[in-house]
Symmetry: C2
Subunit: 248 residues, 2 copies
């Protein structure tokens, strides 16, 4: 394995004992992120930025006011969704694609969120990232919508939908429990993007009756407690920090 | 940019004018794939294998007989889904994760399905891969299920669901049309994994009334015609070839 320029630079940072804040200064072109601090998809990207110790310039798109469906924002993202991420002239949508971009550009910095050690470890990690996207997210997004988002908008929770979705989620969490009995985290014995991707919906569900499905399974409970306590995640959920962040 | 061992090897293959078949001999440990030749997710992986000129050992899981939900198969994949991919002692599920693994291991071989040229190109490609997963696939999977899969099982198509889903798909395809006016393919001017991921559902929808939504948009129509005609895709859809494939 060769050593590339960015790795040398990061090694220097580590040896100099510099903090993340001073590393941030080296990141000259501040990232801009259109988002909403309560949005699960916005928080996914913020968690990655904080894990990597990167600064960003937040631009609020008020989802409660429906700003994401207004012509001004649709000209930025025709899908009418947050987050939108700007790095100079590059514009990216889709929280997981943005996360991949940040983690690949800054692979040697902060938390190592993608595994480059071996093809097989990478494959296992990709599998757990896909399980989040196709097995976990569709169910937990419905449960978050019904129990957390709808009440915010004064809409009624559909408990028939909640019950049916919880029954499906139980089967998925049974598979997670088996995995987490044998492995500290989903993809490996260290925290990776596969774990991080789960956080936004889990955070909301911890304030709903669905919490019991995670609590009833000892290994899932242990995993949730560990990932939800990460300082980068706490910062990603800090709504005041989003609004009060000084523009550079 | 350095040159690594695998790139040198592939350059040699090209200079020697060897065919894909002789390259396949270099791939000693044959991949095994549990799948069903009519399954969209199985075909996604087969398309990648054929684009890369890789051989595989097919193991049929008869979805029509419900074999994917029987204990024998659940011990292989507790989610009860195909495909499952075996590379020696590595077992992977989720068609897109399997595809990523194959493409990363064989990055210099066959069609270059992932872009490594620059971070920005990679970011744009990741975005279009995510758009397929989160905007295109959920809608086209419903339309394929209702119009192609249900009739295979003697079940009735729900045309209310079809109409509602088509209305949503129209909005997504309007965005694709704008993109494909400016770019030959979704992520760039060459065919990549972002395009390939769309093929399995498009193939089924070309035999349904939904075809008109693709045909009505000139750039989308041009793109569909080009990607669906790829020889690797034709091979991925060859059901007889799946059943008659000689085991090595």
């Amino acid at each position: 394995m060769g050593v590339n320029a960015s790795e040398v630079r990061i090694t220097c940072y580590h040896h100099c004992n510099q903090t993340f804040e001073s590393q941030e200064l080296a990141h000259k072109d501040e990232y801009k992120i259109y988002g909403y601090p309560y949005s699960t998809n916005t928080r996914r990207v913020l968690a990655v930025l904080h894990e990597k110790g990167l600064s960003y310039d937040p631009i609020t798109v008020d989802l409660k006011a429906g700003d994401q469906k207004k012509p001004r924002f649709l000209s930025i993202n025709p899908f009418g969704q947050v987050p939108v991420f700007l790095d100079g002239d590059l514009k990216l949508t889709e929280s997981r694609a943005i996360s991949e971009y940040i983690v690949t550009v800054h692979k040697s910095r902060g938390t190592q969120l993608l595994n480059y050690e071996s093809y097989k470890k990478m494959g296992t990690q990709r599998m757990w990232m896909a399980i989040e996207s196709f097995e976990f997210d569709p169910l937990t997004s419905i449960l978050t919508l019904e129990q957390s988002i709808k009440p915010m908008y004064g809409l009624k929770t559909d408990y028939k939908v909640v019950n049916e979705t919880e029954a499906k989620l139980e089967k998925v969490l049974d598979i997670y429990e088996e995995r987490l009995k044998k492995s500290s985290f989903l993809a490996s014995n260290s925290f990776t993007m596969a774990d991080l991707y789960h956080l936004p919906n889990i955070q909301y569900l911890m304030d709903t009756h669905t919490k019991r499905l995670f609590e009833n399974r000892p290994s899932v409970r242990r995993w949730v407690a560990e990932i939800i306590a990460r300082p980068a995640w706490k910062r990603a959920c800090d709504v005041k920090a989003w609004y009060h962040k000084k523009k550079n």
